[in-house]
Amino acid sequence: MIEMERVDVAVVGGGPAGLAAAAAARTAGAGRVLLLERDTRLGGILNQCIHDGFGTKVFKEALTGPEYAALAIRRAHDAGVETRVDTTVLELDPNRTMTVISRNGMRRIEAGAVVLSMGCRERTRGAIGIAGSRPSGIYTAGAVQNYMNLRNILVGRRIVILGSGDIGLIMARRLALEGAEVACVAEILAYPSGLARNIVQCLDDFGIPLHLNTTVVEIHGTDRVAGVTLAEVGCKGGIRRRTRRRVECDTLMLSVGLVPENELSKRAGVVLDAVTRGPVVDDAYQTSVPGVFACGNVLQVHDLVDYASLEAEKAGTSAAAFARTGALPAARIRVLPGAGIRYVLPQRVTGGDAIDFTMRVSKPARDAALVFSSDGREIRRLQQQVLAPASMARVRLGRGRLEGLSEVMVEVAG
């Protein structure tokens, strides 16, 4: 027989988002809050991020990933959160019953509310379809980071990096510090997809060249990677054949994007956004399935952990409210991404309280404004010096500013 237990709030995933959500749910008055983590330790991806730059918003100091995680874990435990590690959530049904498994066996857990905070996974060679042979030596950046920082294993000696995402940049520096040679970073876009400070600190400071508008078109080598062919990409996205050149290397490291890990959500019937690939949520971070909330990288890929934690606190607080009352106010106002906006969250709002919107622009812009409007009437305009797809923008609209509307649109205005 499969044992059954009941909790007020269950949190799936013990990274910074899950930890913050669980702590907030307790603080907001939820009775039993249970956090489930499939890894051996809490802290999620932070455990392998041994560089610093975390926590300036939430803890007001610059911390390494493990330091940030340690503080977040302490907060959760102090708040009275029960945690279980080495425990995988296998299934979630729309009535918020979960099937979980660990070395202690299988259980069913019925929850008054559920917070999804499963994080994300990396895009792979197969997902982006790099041609060529199939040797060893092709790694995603997160895997390289895991091998190096958690297992003291070096994956190669001469590395080409595809993609200028933050993880890739940080790993370029880490590899250089370990004495590996980073031949170059190739980025298919006309601008880097990582934060500007990481370009300076991780590439420029180490003399690692960054080639924009450039991609890997073929992988060579039968046993181990022997090299890659790089080529420039024309303005219509086609390969400029004349620019093909081979770079010798024994490792290709991919930093080509993260995908929210929503398999569990999908099976529970949670509706996903085609752009973020995370759930569609309202301003309580409630998904399309009542009582199921989402936050952190499973909702949208964050570049700063602090914002993942802040968003999670809100989700945890809402989950506690749902567990107590069984329903939350309906979110009737639709939020639409307009010109220049790739996505904006939440996608639906109630309009009562103050709301934190998070969004990403489609392409870099200087001296532009983020404009909120409804039916052509401007609600709020924020002038920005720089807008870059790499940095998530956050905008707060104060209490009552959306009352009575049916739709708001956000756009970038010159």
């Binding site: 070395r103 060893s136 000696r157 046993d223």
Partner: protein, 501 residues
């Protein structure tokens, strides 16, 4: 001196392994010599995994006879060996009225080969069977089935091994001295003597024949590329969906095949190439496969792809000539005592059980040995966690906590299953050997998550970090350890990181 085997089989593909297992029923001393560090590394792991019915092969050919006989034996064989087999059926779609006569031709040919229950259905029935597929009409072949080709090859080999067949891996045969008393085969690990030799070296069968002085065969490699789609798309089709085969082309056309594990395969293409082992994939073909497949099945998009691979057909007719080439299975007078299997392209997987029966008859004519009383053709089923209902999963985890520990999150593979795959009877320990046996690292994250965990388990079983390879040989995974780690490469203790118990 060297021991003399009764039979040496060159090549551990599905054909060589099926023969080995068939021969293990008898009191015969059999050895399989395989070039690679594991079985199932050639064409046998790089195909569509379809158990064909026999509608595509000309009546009267050896291909037709062995296809139909192999298909008839397949389900029972898979059951004995605990290998997945699903009779999902197949639709050959005519997109336009002009293509409809082709369906009739396939039906006629299939019926002549004795394929049961073939039927031509109209577009409405197509819609009813496969709501996401559109077409003018289709040939429905309900007995067509799918299997897992590398699982089958591995199961045949492991069952043969437990019935006494010797497997010498990483042993490419480089020369063959024809018999005085026995054949002498040279491999880098030593000489092997055998009374009879079976050449089932797949793409290299012509070269192996040449080693024995027989130069009449010629293999023309023809590559087929595939794209694998994410499991979340598995609801799109339940049957295989094929186009009408392109006229005079070297393949069956780009088809859409569900796999036994719930993914969808698009492909294969057909391109004649020079290097026989050149299994690269190309951008151009990926785009074309996705485009052609979307014509049969609108709703497929490039974002659904999780991986790509390709396999190479050992054709016996060059592209310039084209047309049908039959299997060649013979013992020419120049090499008496040596059976050659050349051009074992599709439907070679389907035909493997029948080819094995044929090889058995040939061996027994020379060496009429009795059956071995110890033969056990059953491979004990080992649980596949992901395929079980929750109650059975719970029961397993209650007995063995290793079944409660998920290692591969995408494919739901437990620690117990990974450990079992590491302890395989052939002693193959590369990551691909573990992957083919356990399915860890085969899902949408392609080992990004579980790779490090599998590496931990390998190290716990005693494989040092600098000896871990992707597929053996020079496919090393790691350059050593990081600075400040004790005593250099390979001797690093398993460090205290996430995932270490």
């Amino acid at each position: 001196m060297y021991k003399t085997f009764d039979v040496a089989i060159i090549g551990g593909g599905v054909v060589g392994c099926a023969i080995a297992r068939e021969l293990s029923r008898y009191r015969l001393d059999v050895v399989v010599l395989e070039r690679e560090p594991d079985v199932a590394r050639g064409t046998s792991s790089k195909n569509s995994g379809v158990v064909h019915t026999g509608i595509n092969v000309p009546p009267g050919s050896l291909k037709a006879r062995l296809n139909v006989a192999g298909a008839a034996a397949f389900e029972a064989l898979c059951r004995e060996l605990d290998v997945p087999f699903k009779r999902v059926g197949k639709l050959v779609i005519a997109m336009r009225a002009e293509e409809a006569p082709e369906l009739q031709a396939l039906l006629t040919r299939g019926s002549a080969n004795g394929v049961p229950d073939l039927e031509i259905i109209d577009s409405e029935t197509v819609r009813r069977l496969e709501p996401n597929v559109s077409g003018y009409a289709a040939l429905h072949a309900p007995t067509a089935a799918i299997t897992c080709p590398y699982s089958l090859t591995i199961a045949l080999a492991e069952n043969a091994a437990s019935n006494g067949v010797a497997f010498q891996l990483e042993s490419p045969v480089t020369s063959i001295v024809p018999p005085g008393e026995a054949f002498t085969l040279t491999t880098p690990s030593g000489l092997v003597n055998a009374l009879l030799v079976i050449n089932s070296a797949g793409l290299h069968a012509d070269r192996v024949a040449r080693m024995a002085g027989l130069s009449k065969y010629r293999v023309y490699p023809c590559r087929g590329e595939y794209v694998i789609l994410d499991k979340s798309r598995c609801g799109l089709i339940t049957r295989m969906v094929y186009p009408v085969p392109p006229k005079g082309g070297p393949g069956l056309g780009v088809h859409i095949t569900p796999t036994v594990d719930g993914n969808i395969l698009l492909g294969p293409s057909a391109t004649y190439i020079r290097g026989r082992d050149d299994v690269r994939t190309t951008m151009a073909m990926r785009r074309q496969l996705l485009k052609e497949a979307a014509e049969l099945l609108p709703g497929i998009s490039p974002g659904d792809a999780i991986a790509a691979y390709s396999g190479v057909r050992p054709k016996t007719v060059p592209s310039s000539r084209g047309g049908f080439g039959d299997f060649i299975i013979e013992e020419p007078p120049e090499t008496l005592g040596m059976l050659h299997l050349v051009g074992i392209e599709s439907p070679g997987l389907t035909a493997a059980p029948a080819i094995a029966a044929l090889a058995r008859e040939w061996v027994l004519r020379y060496l009429p040995r009795p059956e071995s009383p110890r033969f056990n053709g059953r491979r004990e089923p080992s649980p596949r966690f992901r395929e079980l209902v929750a109650e059975s999963q719970a029961a397993l985890a209650a007995v063995d906590p290793d079944y409660g520990q998920i290692v591969c999150r995408c494919e739901l593979v437990t620690k117990a299953e990974v450990l079992e795959s590491i302890r395989n009877p052939l002693g193959a320990k590369s990551l691909i050997s573990i992957k083919y046996r356990s399915r860890a690292m085969m899902g949408r994250c392609q080992g990004g998550f579980c790779g490090p965990r599998v590496v931990d388990l390998l190290r716990e079983t005693g494989v040092p970090v600098d000896r871990i390879t992707l597929r053996g040989g020079g496919s090393w995974m790691f350059a050593g350890t990081t600075r400040g780690t004790a005593n250099g490469a390979g001797r690093a203790p398993v460090t205290t990181g996430a995932g270490d118990d």
